[in-house]
Symmetry: C2
Subunit: 322 residues, 2 copies
């Protein structure tokens, strides 16, 4: 079958591309390489069924000629995935996450493509009043420009699903870990410790509780869900493990894996940054009833991430992304 | 005090302008006159404390020089308020409601203005599972591009409130009725019946249940809420009466008021159009605990609307808005 993947050179997008090719499908990958890495597409580029297209999705015509009614599904992973620095560039999330999703949906509508799978975020629950948080938790207040932009994209997908008959599969991720991981706190910790193994600065008081999911399990969950169509125009699924971990405990795991014992400093406060949620833990019953279950624990996901970064230290190199 | 009102020539915006001026405040009104009516600003323009500025808020610099830390509150009413025809122009709601709100927020941030009051909609509850629907109802699925664009604007306001300290007061309206009413089903019914008093076409099966609020009560509720600051960066209030009415019953009221008995035809189905909610009825306990209560019933609001339209038939004249 034919698939299109946006953000095809990114962490999760490139992993999906490799998986779809391995499963025998034809894949068009789109990326603007603003944060995507050419290295992540090398394996796919050897495959005759893969086509990589460099386009800026803020251009409304970017997907022209790439979609058709034969496009089985558009996996829309292209995004500004940096939650923490949103306040430094107040327009970026709106552009990269909301407007780009609008452009993808319009291109799909015009080309007759009928199914979008979208990487949303558990951050849309803000500081959730119900934990573990189900998909139909009380209507939340947005706490970051990132989550606001993803919620706006979800809303557009739902309106297109109901208005134009484009099926929507929306996935609210916890933080994803594993091979090709290139941002987030595990990345930051390893980067700090490789620069100076004696010091580790931790944002907040370290008691923030977060949930993580291994990228392979994330891909399995998405593919499982889209293979189970329902009668609803749009379905929303939380994706995560049935665990959470304190930020200081994940520092313990990283230090143990790297066999170091740095002095730790904490910036203080219950949040890592303005808009950070002190406790993210999603109820994943809905996707589990489809038969999916994660294969790796949070600790195992962190181990795989460390192994990847230590064998691929080039991912730590500074990028001028902001 | 100093206030800025966007959509100052619109139905609700112009009513707010007149009220603020009557209360002794200085008001800057902004409108692009795409759907605003110059007639609605005539009363205000006689007032020495009113300044009317014609600007397009899609231009990010539109509010430059109009805001300052002395701006007590920005009442942001400018919007595409046409819910029903959203699917005919899939980008319009995103531009006029989401992007314009982003521009207003950025202008406020840059100028140091610290409070926004925003006209959102009960449509963000989609087809609500809980009726009457409270502000913290289960996380809804968006059913229209209009509601999606308003939810996106709400999310931006919340993120700005938490990230930049701009206080947000968000009002989720039912349909508003009264003097200067220029769109919606009561408007459409009267327009049809003035053209042909023997025929009335009703969208859907007429059993849709809707709630309405008189514009004077809407203004009172907004002013009541903003005069009760809380410790939360953002507060959301439903606005409506504690009643609802079937669409065919509101047709009864209109026909009785106009003293006619047209033959009725129904387009059929439980919804008036794709994305229409068959039952909108909001729980307004939150704003009522502040001391506000509506003075007019739905029936009285409809009467006032008919009186206004029959004495101001020019509002029925065709506009090329789409």
């Amino acid at each position: 079958m034919n698939y299109l993947v946006t953000g095809a050179a990114g962490f999760i997008g490139s992993t999906m591309v490799d998986r779809l090719l391995a499963d025998g499908h034809r894949v068009i990958g789109v990326d603007n390489f603003s944060t995507g890495r050419r290295e992540f597409t090398q394996q796919a580029l050897k495959h005759p069924q893969f086509q990589l297209v460099e386009r800026n999705l803020l251009d409304a015509t970017a997907l022209k000629g790439l979609l058709s009614p034969e496009t089985q599904c558009v996996f829309h992973f292209a995004a500004n995935a940096d939650v923490r620095h949103g306040l430094q560039h107040p327009r970026k999330d709106l552009e990269q996450n909301t407007l780009v999703t609008s452009n993808v949906l319009e291109a799909m509508r015009l080309a007759g493509a009928k199914h979008i799978a979208f990487s949303s975020t558990g951050s849309v629950y803000g500081e959730a009043s119900q934990i573990p948080t189900p998909e139909d938790a009380p209507f939340p207040i947005q706490t970051s420009l990132y989550a606001a932009s993803k919620l706006a994209a979800e809303a557009l997908i739902s309106a297109y699903a109901i208005g134009y008959g484009i099926r929507g599969s929306i996935f609210r991720f916890v933080s994803i870990l594993g091979e090709r991981y290139t941002h987030g706190h595990v990345f930051d910790f390893i980067k700090q410790l490789r620069a100076n193994p004696h010091q580790l600065k931790i944002l907040g008081d370290g008691n923030q509780r977060k949930s993580y999911l291994y990228v392979g399990d994330c891909i399995n969950a998405i593919l499982c869900a889209i293979q189970h169509p329902t009668n609803e125009p749009v379905e929303i699924y939380n994706l995560g493990t049935h665990e959470y971990i304190e930020v200081k405990k994940s520092a313990d795991l990283i230090c143990a894996e790297l066999k170091i014992a740095p002095e730790r400093t904490y910036t203080g406060g219950i949040r890592g940054w303005v808009g950070d949620s002190p406790f993210i833990f999603l109820d994943t019953k809905k996707v589990r009833t489809l038969g999916w279950a994660p294969e790796l624990s949070i600790a195992e996901g962190i181990q795989r991430t460390i192994q990847f970064i230590t064998t691929n230290p080039w991912v730590l190199e500074a990028r001028s992304e902001l």
